[in-house]
Symmetry: C2
Subunit: 222 residues, 2 copies
Amino acid sequence: MTTSTTTADRIADHLRSQIAAGQLAGGDRVKERDVAQLLGASRGPAREALRILEREGLLEIRPYSGARVVRIGKTEVAEIVTLRRQVEYFAIGNAALSSDPKVVAELKDLAAQMREAHRAREAMKLIDLDLKFHLRICEASGHSTLIAMMRTLLPRLTILWYPQVFKGHTPESFEESHLKMVRAIENRDVAEAIHATDQHIENFTFDLELRLAKPPSSMLAS
Amino acid sequence: MTTSTTTADRIADHLRSQIAAGQLAGGDRVKERDVAQLLGASRGPAREALRILEREGLLEIRPYSGARVVRIGKTEVAEIVTLRRQVEYFAIGNAALSSDPKVVAELKDLAAQMREAHRAREAMKLIDLDLKFHLRICEASGHSTLIAMMRTLLPRLTILWYPQVFKGHTPESFEESHLKMVRAIENRDVAEAIHATDQHIENFTFDLELRLAKPPSSMLAS
DNA sequence: ATATGCTATATTGTCAACCATCTATATTAT
DNA sequence: ATAATATAGATGGTTGACAATATAGCATAT
């Protein structure tokens, strides 16, 4: 649970979790007033939070018509995974070239934290750490536009991933998969970095299922 | 001047033009109140507009510290052009596969409009049309994430391009460069589509200069 | 002169109440 | 059943106020 600086961020975090966990399903409507009251805030920050989630591709907003949770179909899944792969290649390639020891240390730390979160079965925390890990790699490149693109991609991946976050790997294998990427960065081995990334993505998308839209289920849905 | 639906969009459009034209230079501060009053609006929409431009990578916003126009250096220029190339390959490849006649017609129309805007030396209109053109190619793919990424990229390109928008080509050569892409889509020729895109980007980036930050210059700067 | 800490001020962050405007739904008339 | 019309509900936008924070400027100490 990251202590965000602004109310809008806090609200966005909360809604993001709800969406990832499926408490807000595809097609559900999200109203400014409900969101605001739920977190004890006013409409301003709530509105802002919805825009944040729109940019992340988790909500669709149409003027005067409100926000709805996006429906993600098979096409989108394939699309997101493909784009993610390309962006991550680019990112880790650059990270391997610069190979900042400080970044390497941080990544190793994140990998260890993920292992623990995995052991503790803290799904949301694990996802949050994983996002931080892959975003850190982008940030290491120092390319602001690349970071922006990654920010566009990662939240969408979250939705796909959450339902089966512990599936197909152990805390140790999960950590190892990440560490392979880190070591490649550490050794300035661009080819290996990309290969490790390829494997990493492959390991955790082999049976990604789309989450079908289901009937309204949450207290936010109307 | 595009007639936007919401006030925030209108404000964002206005500021985007100012930034592209250099009336707001890198490092300049942009205040909510000033922006609001300038367009006869209140702080709400102004705030929203700033967030829009932040997402587009034209502004940097820090909590309680305000928004500043980003400084774009040589590194960023190279980065943006490279990423743009990759995204556009992906987009036009998909567009060529689907090859929607309606889209093709729209693209041809846009190319013609660009020729006229070029003849009339209407820089901002030309850029606006060009953005529409390339965005339309993305939209043709139907990939919402790809569209999101393109929306991240295009506004940044605008800043780089504006200072020399008419340089290195005639209205006719400019139209032809776009038409080559359109015809490739029309003929479902993926390889040619990518080649045409490559040429197109190459033609108009050969001597992209970075715009250096300069002293505050506008009525919005403080 | 430089560095440090404090104060003052401007700006952002947030709230609340209110009205305008539009969308979508329900209703009515044909 | 269909089309035109009301109605309700939500969003878009305004105003004014206040709280929280960062930054610049000033005083002080080194």
